[in-house]
Symmetry: C2
Subunit: 310 residues, 2 copies
Amino acid sequence: MFFEGSEKKIEIVIRPGVPSLRTLGQDYWKALVHTARAEILSVIHNEQCDAYLLSESSLFVWDNRCLMLTCGTTTLVDAALKFIGDQGPSQIDFFSYQRKNEYRPNLQLSTVTEDLERLRALLPMKACQFGYLDSHHHFLFSMAHPDYQPEIDDHTSELLMYHISGPAADALCCSCQELSQIRQLLDLEKLLPGFELDDFLFDPCGYSVNAIKGHQYATIHITPQQSSSYVSFETNIDLGLEGAWIVEALLKRLQPRSWDTIGFNSSPQTPKRPYYLSIGECQVRLECGYEVIFSHHQDRQSQQLPVCWL
Amino acid sequence: MFFEGSEKKIEIVIRPGVPSLRTLGQDYWKALVHTARAEILSVIHNEQCDAYLLSESSLFVWDNRCLMLTCGTTTLVDAALKFIGDQGPSQIDFFSYQRKNEYRPNLQLSTVTEDLERLRALLPMKACQFGYLDSHHHFLFSMAHPDYQPEIDDHTSELLMYHISGPAADALCCSCQELSQIRQLLDLEKLLPGFELDDFLFDPCGYSVNAIKGHQYATIHITPQQSSSYVSFETNIDLGLEGAWIVEALLKRLQPRSWDTIGFNSSPQTPKRPYYLSIGECQVRLECGYEVIFSHHQDRQSQQLPVCWL
C-alpha cells in the first residue's frame, strides 16, 4: 500500500520574445509528461493557463512559464532535460528544480546528486539543501538569466503535510469516496472561490485537484495511505498574506502530525497555537531576487510515535 | 568529507550449555568482522569480556553473548548470517539486529527490507520500526528462544547525537588532535571511572573508544564531519538510573542539535531543561520481556536550520 506522495517540481520561465509555451500544443506536453513516466489524465483551460492533471500530479502552462510537479517514482529530471534540450538553454530566463525529502528514497530511480549532475551538464545550476539530512529537508537547484527579475506579484507557496489524522484522514483512506464528497471534505468552494476545478480520484484511494482562476493556480495532491500519508498544497496565492487563513483551514481539517512550508517571495504562515511547534526554519536569497523560505513544524511536543510491525 | 556514522548493530545471546564464545578465538572474530567489510584494529580483555575496536566501530564478546556495531557502508547483515550459519540457529537464545536512520541511505549496500528478508530466511524474526520514516526512526529485528528471559540486570542504553556544536565539536573536527586530548575533552576518566580504555584516532578525524570494567562496557564513536556529524554512546550501564548524569554530561559537552535515546530495559533520561525539546517517543515490549524505548529530542524550538550549497 506504499505510495511516495512527495513531489519533484520544475518551474521554468522563458525569455521575453520566445513564442508562447501554450502554442507548443497538447501533443508536445503529452510527450514531455511521458518522458517523466507519467500520463495526462485531463486538462482545463482559461484565457491565461492550461492546467493538466497527471497520473502523478500536475502540469501548468502559461504563455511564458510552466510548472510541473510529479510524485511517485517518476523521473521529472528526464522531462526537464528534454525541455531544456528542445527549447535551447539560451531561451530560458529562470529554471528551478526542487526535490523534497522522500519517505523511501531508495525506491527512487535517481538520487538528488545524479539529478544535479545531469542538469549541470546543460545549465549552470546553483544548488542548495535546506535543513538537515536526518530530518525534513528540501533541495533547490536554480538558474537565472542575468537579466531575469521576478515580477512583483510572483509568489509561490507550498504547504506539505505529513501523517494526516482525524475524520478527514479516515474518510480519505476509504475507497468508497466520491469526488463531490472530497470537494466538500476539503471545503474547496470556500478555499478557492471562483476557481475552475479539475479533479480525479485514484484507485483504491488518493485524490488530485487542479484549480485555476485568471493567472492564479492551486493544486492539491493527497496520498492518504496510513504510515506514509502526504498532502501537498501548492499555489501562487500568497499564503503569507491574503491566503494565510488557507493554511490554518487545511491544518485544522487534515490534522497533519508535521508539515513543511516553502515560499518563494512569500512566507506561508503557520498560525500561532499553543500546540503547533516550530521545529526550525531557514531562508536564502537567490541572485535573481527570489527570497526562499523553508520551515518545518509539528503539531505538538512529545508526540506518541508509532511502532509499526514489518 | 561525508562519512555515515550511524551504526547497524547485532546482539546475540547463545543457549545455555553452548561453549563460551570467547573460545572461538580471535581468528574467528577477525573473519567475522571481515565479512562485514571491517577490520580489527586492537583488542583489550578482562576476566569477562574481549573488546575489539574495529575500523568501523566495535565488537564485544562475553562467554554467552556478543555485540557488534558497525558504521559507514559496512554490511553487518553478512556477519550476522555467517554467525547464525556457523553456530546453527538452534544454538541462539536471543538475536537482535538494529539499524538507525542513516543520513544517506542511498549509499548503503543493502536496504532495511533486504536485510530483513535475508535474516528471516534463517531465523523467525519479529521486526518493527520505531518512529516515522520522514523523521528519526529506528528498525529492530529480533528473535528469542521460548525459554529465553533477560536477566534482571540486562540493560542496554544508547544515546545517538546528531550535529554536535560548540568548542568540543570544533576541536574534534581538527586533524591536530591527540588521543589524550580527546579523552580529556570527553572527560572519560570521570564519565567511566575504573574502566579500561582502548581508543583510536582516525585520519583526518574521527574517534572511537571501547571501555570495559568487569561485565560492564561502554563505547563511543565520533564522526565529527560538519553537516553530518554523529556521536554514539552505547553501554550496559543503565542511563535511566545510575548513569542518567552521563547523558546530561555528554549533551552539555557535545551540544548536539538533536539526539535519540534507545533503551532495552532502561529509560535513558534526557534532563529537563527549558531548551531541551521532546519531539516524540514510543515503546514496545518484546515477547521475551525486553521493554524497548525510543525517543527523539532536539535542543530547542525554532532552530535556525542550515542552508548548504552543493
